[in-house]
C-alpha cells in the first residue's frame, strides 16, 4: 500500500490553506485530492469581490482569493490530484480514491484532513408544493451555470431564502439582465450578511420579504409562476396571504449542509447541530489523526475564517505526523446555551491547548443588548457586551489557557447569552 504523511480531501479554500500550513509546519509528503477539474472549490464561481479583507487586507474576488492560495501551494511544490474522488475513508486513515487515469487507489495516511465543504439544501428537502418543472435551481448551481459555464438560466427570477449565495445571486442575475422580483425568507430575519443585503438587494431595489415562503410552483415544463405566502410564527403558511409572481426561474438559497458522507462512513462522531464532526481544540475529530476544517466542519460566513481554521488544521496534522501526542483524558466539553446553537471546537484541553483558542459559534435568532458570558464550571471567566448578534453571522470568543488552567476534569466550559 502507498503511504503518505498527510492526505487532504478537498482542494477548496480549506484544503488549500491546510496544505500550505502543513508544509510550513515542516511536512513535505502532502497530497491534496480534488474532485473538480481545478483547485479553488466554490470560490471559482464566486466572482464577486469582498473576499480576503482579513487575510490579505485587500478586497479580492473569489477566484483571486483562491489563486493566492493556489500559488502558495504550487510554490511549495505540494502535490495535488484533480478529477479525483475519494470514495472511502477509514478510521485508521486509509483513504481510497478513484479517477480515470489511475483507477482505484488506496493510501495509508499519517494524518487525514477532511475539507470537503458543504452542499445546498435542495427543493425536495424543503417540501415546496406544486409541479416539478425546469427552472428551479439551487442558488449555487445557478451561480456555477452563470459564472463558470457562461449560461443564461432565466429572465424573471424569484429567490427563496436570503442566505449569502441567494443575496449574491439576486445581484448577479440583475447584472446579467434578468429581473429579480423579490427575495422571500421563511424566517423573520435574513440568514445572510448585512453587507450583502445592502449591496445586493437594497442597492438594486429588490424587496426582501421576511416571514414569507413559496407556497406553490406553477408550470408543467418550465416554471411559469409561483405563489409566495406569509408564514406564522411556527413557519406555517397563512392561507389567503398568497401573492402570485409570474416568473420563469426560482432560485433556492435555503441553507448549506456540511458534506460528511465520508466522515460518517469512517464512523466519526457528528455534531447534530453543525452537521459536521465533533472536534477538539486541535481540530482533530473522534478518529485519531483525522482532522477537519472549513465548511465540512461548520458553515462559515467568511472565507477568511475558513482559511484561518484550515491553517490550524494543517499545522496540527503536521504536528501529529511528527509524533506529538495529546493527553486524551484532559478534554473539557464546551457547552452552549441561552440562544447559542453550537460551538466549534466542541472540546478543549486546558493542558494541551495553545495560549489562546478562538471558539466560533452561531446564535438561533436575532438578539439585541445581550451579554456574552463564558463560564468554567460555575466561575464566570468572561463577559462581553453584544449590541446585536444574528444567525447569519458567525460569532467568536477567545479563551485563554491561563484562564482555564484551574479546571478540574469534571468541569465544563459554558458559553451563553445573558440579559
Amino acid at each position: 500500500m502507498i503511504r503518505r504523511d498527510i492526505v487532504i480531501i478537498g482542494g477548496g479554500p480549506a484544503g488549500l490553506a491546510a496544505a500550505v500550513a502543513a508544509y510550513d509546519a515542516g511536512s513535505r509528503d502532502i497530497l491534496v485530492i480534488e474532485r473538480d477539474d481545478r483547485l479553488g472549490g466554490i470560490l471559482n464561481q464566486c466572482i464577486h469581490n469582498g473576499f480576503g479583507l482579513h487575510t490579505f487586507k485587500e478586497e479580492l474576488t473569489g477566484p483571486e482569493y483562491a489563486d493566492r492560495f493556489i500559488s502558495q501551494l504550487t510554490d511549495r511544490g505540494i502535490e495535488y490530484k484533480l478529477d479525483t474522488i475519494v470514495t472511502d475513508v477509514s478510521d485508521t486513515r486509509c483513504v481510497t480514491y478513484m479517477n480515470g487515469s489511475e483507477g482505484v487507489v488506496t493510501i495509508e495516511a499519517g494524518a487525514v484532513i477532511l475539507a470537503m465543504g458543504c452542499r445546498e439544501r435542495p427543493r425536495g428537502a424543503l417540501g415546496i408544493p406544486g409541479f416539478r418543472p425546469a427552472g428551479v435551481y439551487t442558488a449555487g448551481t445557478a451561480q456555477r451555470l452563470v459564472n463558470i459555464e457562461g449560461k443564461c438560466i432565466g429572465k424573471r427570477v424569484v429567490i427563496l431564502g436570503s442566505g449569502d449565495i441567494g443575496l449574491i445571486m439576486a445581484r448577479r442575475m440583475t447584472l446579467e439582465g434578468a429581473k429579480v422580483l423579490c427575495v422571500a425568507e421563511l424566517m423573520p430575519y435574513s440568514g445572510g450578511l448585512q453587507r450583502n443585503i445592502t449591496q445586493c438587494l437594497d442597492d438594486f431595489g429588490i424587496p426582501l420579504l421576511l416571514s414569507h415562503t413559496v407556497s406553490r410552483i406553477y408550470g408543467k415544463e418550465r416554471v411559469t409562476g409561483i405563489d409566495i405566502s406569509e408564514v406564522d410564527e411556527n413557519r406555517n403558511v397563512i392561507p389567503g396571504t398568497e401573492i402570485h409572481y409570474d416568473c420563469d426561474t426560482l432560485l433556492l438559497s435555503c441553507g448549506l449542509l456540511p458534506e460528511n458522507e465520508l466522515t460518517r462512513q469512517a464512523g466519526i462522531s457528528i455534531d447534530r447541530v453543525t452537521g459536521g464532526p465533533d472536534v477538539r481544540d486541535d481540530l482533530e475529530t473522534s478518529a485519531e489523526g483525522i482532522f477537519a476544517c472549513g465548511n465540512v466542519l461548520h458553515v462559515h460566513d467568511l472565507v477568511d475564517y475558513v482559511s484561518q481554521e484550515a491553517s490550524r488544521a494543517g499545522q496540527m496534522a503536521s504536528e501529529f505526523v511528527s509524533g506529538r501526542k495529546r493527553d486524551h483524558l484532559s478534554y473539557l466539553k464546551v457547552e452552549t446555551s441561552g440562544g447559542i446553537r453550537y460551538s466549534v471546537p466542541q472540546y478543549i484541553s486546558p493542558k494541551e491547548m495553545e495560549d489562546s483558542i478562538t471558539v466560533r459559534f452561531r446564535v438561533d435568532k436575532v438578539y439585541r443588548d445581550r451579554k456574552l458570558c463564558v463560564y468554567l464550571g460555575t466561575t464566570k471567566l468572561r463577559e462581553q457586551r453584544k449590541n446585536i448578534v444574528k444567525p447569519g453571522e458567525m460569532e467568536q470568543v477567545v479563551l485563554l489557557k491561563k484562564d482555564l488552567g484551574s479546571a478540574s476534569g469534571t468541569d465544563t466550559i459554558r458559553i451563553c447569552l445573558e440579559d
Binding site: R35, D83, P122, A125, G135, K151, K155, K220, D248
Partner: protein, 484 residues
C-alpha cells in the same frame, strides 16, 4: 402495405411490456409516445411495489394478471437484469376488534383464492419482531412473505431495451391526435405525421379512454386520473422498515404505505384524489401533510428531516374498477384502466395481449429472438479490482458525476447510447440515478448537461429536463430580444 403490423400507443410499463412480449413474434411493431422517453407518465410515479395478489377480488382480471405478473417479474428481473427484491409486506391493523380481524381474514381468503402462498395473520408483537419500528398501536397484521419491490423505471427500460433489441421501433414526441379505420387496419394521425398499422394497442394510461372512445363510441369507457402524492426519504432513513407496510383500510380511510425501495430509500404515500386534469402531477401542502401524518400511525418515527423529494402520479382508474385488456374492436386492443396493481401485472398484460395479437395474425415466433438484456454497470457496486479493470477499459467509469448516488460519467454515456436511450435529464436520472440523491442534482446538473449535449450533438441550450419546453438553460439571444 401499412407501416407496421402493430402500433402500441404509450411507452409506459404496460406498453413496453406488450412490446417485449410481442417481440417474441415475427411482427413489425412500433411503440409511440407523446413524451421524449419511456416511463414518463403513470409508470414513473408509483409505489414500486410488486403486489403478491391478495388485494384484488377473486375472478377479476386484476387478480389473475397480478398473480401471473408478479411471478413473471421474478423471472424477468434475472433475465433482463433489473432490480427486484422480495422484501415481504404486511397489512397492519391498529384495532384488535372484529372489524380488523374480519378485514384481514377477508384479505387472507382472497389471497388464497387468488393463489398467493404462505399468507398468515400475526399479532402486533410478531409484526414488531419483524419490524421493530412498527407502532405499538398495531394489534394484528397479515404477513405477506412473497410481496416484493422493483425499480419501476429500470423495469420499464429493461422491457423497452429488450423489445428494441428484437427489432421494435420507438417513436417519441409523437402525440396521437386521431385514429381512423381504413381498409388495412388503422391510420393514426400524430403531431409527427400519419402512421398506418394493421393493429393498435392502446396503452395510453390516463388517456386510454380517449383513444378507446374514438374507436368504440358505442361502448365508451371513462378514466379518472386519481392522483397519489409521495414523499421520498434518503438512504440513511432506509433501515426504518424492511417490509412494505400497508394499512388495513378502515371506515376512517385507506391509510398510506411505508416501503423501502430497491435502491434503499424509504417511500411514503400515496393519498388518493380524483381529478379532472390528466396532467396535474403537482403536489399539495395538504396532500403531503396528510400522507406524512397518516404514515406515522403505522411507523411512528419516520425521520422526515431526511426527505429528499416529493412527487405525485396519476393512476388511470376506470369506472368499472377492473382492468380492460383485450380486443375491443377488430384489430384494436385495449390495456386500459391500468391502475394498481398495474406495475405488478404489466408483464402478464403484455403476455396476454401478445398471444391474442399473434393468434389473430397467425404470427410465427421470431427465430432470432433475444431473451436477455444486460443492465447498467454500477462501478461503485463492483469490487475494487473489478472497478479498476472497468476504468482501464473506459476511464469514464472512473469519473463520478453524481456524488450522492455515485454515478459515473461512463454510466451516463451508456444511458444515452442505448436504444431507446435517454434524451433528457429525467431520462438519465431514471436509468442511472444521476440527480436522484440527496442534493437532487445540484452539483451534477451542469456536467450532465454537457455530456448529454455532446452525445446528442446539440447545443446545451436545447437540453431539456424532459419534454421540449423544459429547457434548463435559456439562450442569450432570447434575453437581449426581451430587453430590446
Amino acid at each position: 402495405m401499412p407501416d407496421y403490423d402493430v402500433v402500441i400507443i404509450g411507452a409506459g410499463v404496460t406498453g413496453c411490456a406488450v412490446a417485449m412480449e410481442l417481440a417474441r413474434y415475427d411482427l413489425k411493431t412500433c411503440v409511440i409516445d407523446k413524451d421524449e422517453d419511456v416511463c414518463s407518465g403513470t409508470s414513473k410515479a408509483n409505489s414500486g411495489i410488486v403486489h403478491a395478489g391478495h388485494d384484488a377480488l377473486p375472478g377479476t382480471l386484476k387478480a389473475r394478471l397480478n398473480v401471473r405478473g408478479s411471478a413473471m417479474i421474478r423471472e424477468l428481473s434475472d433475465r433482463l437484469d433489473f432490480p427486484f427484491r422480495e422484501n415481504g409486506s404486511m397489512v397492519v391493523a391498529t384495532d384488535d376488534d372484529d372489524a380488523s380481524r374480519h378485514g384481514l381474514e377477508e384479505l387472507l381468503e382472497r389471497g388464497i383464492r387468488n393463489g398467493v402462498e404462505d399468507l398468515r395473520i400475526i399479532t402486533g408483537d410478531e409484526a414488531r419482531a419483524y419490524e421493530p419500528n412498527l407502532s405499538e398501536d398495531i394489534k394484528l397484521a397479515l404477513l405477506v412473505p412473497h410481496g416484493g419491490i422493483v425499480c419501476p423505471f429500470l423495469m420499464t427500460v429493461a422491457f423497452a431495451e429488450n423489445a428494441a433489441s428484437n427489432g421494435t421501433e420507438f417513436r417519441f414526441l409523437t402525440s396521437v391526435t386521431g385514429i381512423t379505420r381504413n381498409a388495412e387496419g388503422y391510420l393514426l394521425s400524430t403531431g409527427a405525421g400519419d402512421i398506418s398499422t394493421r393493429a393498435v394497442v392502446n396503452c395510453a394510461g390516463v388517456y386510454a379512454d380517449i383513444f378507446h372512445n374514438m374507436i368504440c363510441p358505442d361502448r365508451p369507457i371513462h378514466i379518472t386520473p386519481r392522483r397519489g402524492e409521495y414523499v421520498l426519504l434518503d438512504h440513511d432513513a432506509g433501515d426504518i422498515t424492511g417490509h412494505t407496510i400497508f394499512r388495513l383500510p378502515t371506515a376512517k380511510g385507506k391509510g398510506v404505505l411505508v416501503t423501502p425501495t430497491v435502491h434503499g430509500n424509504i417511500l411514503v404515500g400515496p393519498n388518493a384524489e380524483d381529478l379532472e386534469d390528466k396532467e396535474d402531477t403537482s403536489t399539495t401542502l395538504d396532500g403531503m401533510n396528510y400522507i406524512r401524518s397518516k404514515a406515522l400511525e403505522s411507523v411512528p418515527n419516520i425521520p422526515y428531516s431526511k426527505t429528499i423529494t416529493s412527487f405525485s402520479g396519476l393512476r388511470a382508474t376506470e369506472d368499472g374498477k377492473d382492468f380492460i385488456v383485450g380486443e375491443s374492436a377488430d384489430g384494436f386492443f385495449d390495456a386500459a384502466g391500468i391502475d394498481s396493481p398495474g406495475l405488478s401485472s404489466a408483464p402478464a398484460i403484455g403476455e396476454m395481449l401478445a398471444e391474442l395479437i399473434a393468434d389473430k395474425f397467425g404470427a410465427s415466433p421470431r427465430q432470432d429472438h433475444i431473451s436477455t438484456r444486460k443492465g447498467f454497470v454500477k462501478p461503485m457496486e463492483l469490487s475494487s479490482e473489478e472497478r479498476a479493470g472497468l476504468i482501464r477499459e473506459d476511464p469514464a467509469y472512473g469519473r463520478i458525476v453524481c456524488r450522492c448516488e455515485n454515478v459515473t460519467e461512463g454510466e451516463i454515456r451508456d444511458a444515452i447510447r442505448r436504444t431507446p436511450g435517454a434524451r433528457s435529464l429525467d431520462g438519465i436520472k431514471r436509468r442511472v440515478r444521476q440527480g436522484m440523491g440527496r442534493c437532487q442534482a445540484g452539483f451534477c446538473t451542469p456536467r450532465t448537461i454537457s455530456i448529454l449535449a455532446e452525445e446528442l450533438g446539440i447545443p446545451e441550450e436545447d437540453i431539456c429536463k424532459n419534454i421540449p419546453g423544459s429547457e434548463i438553460l435559456c439562450s442569450k439571444e432570447d434575453r437581449s430580444d426581451d430587453q430590446a
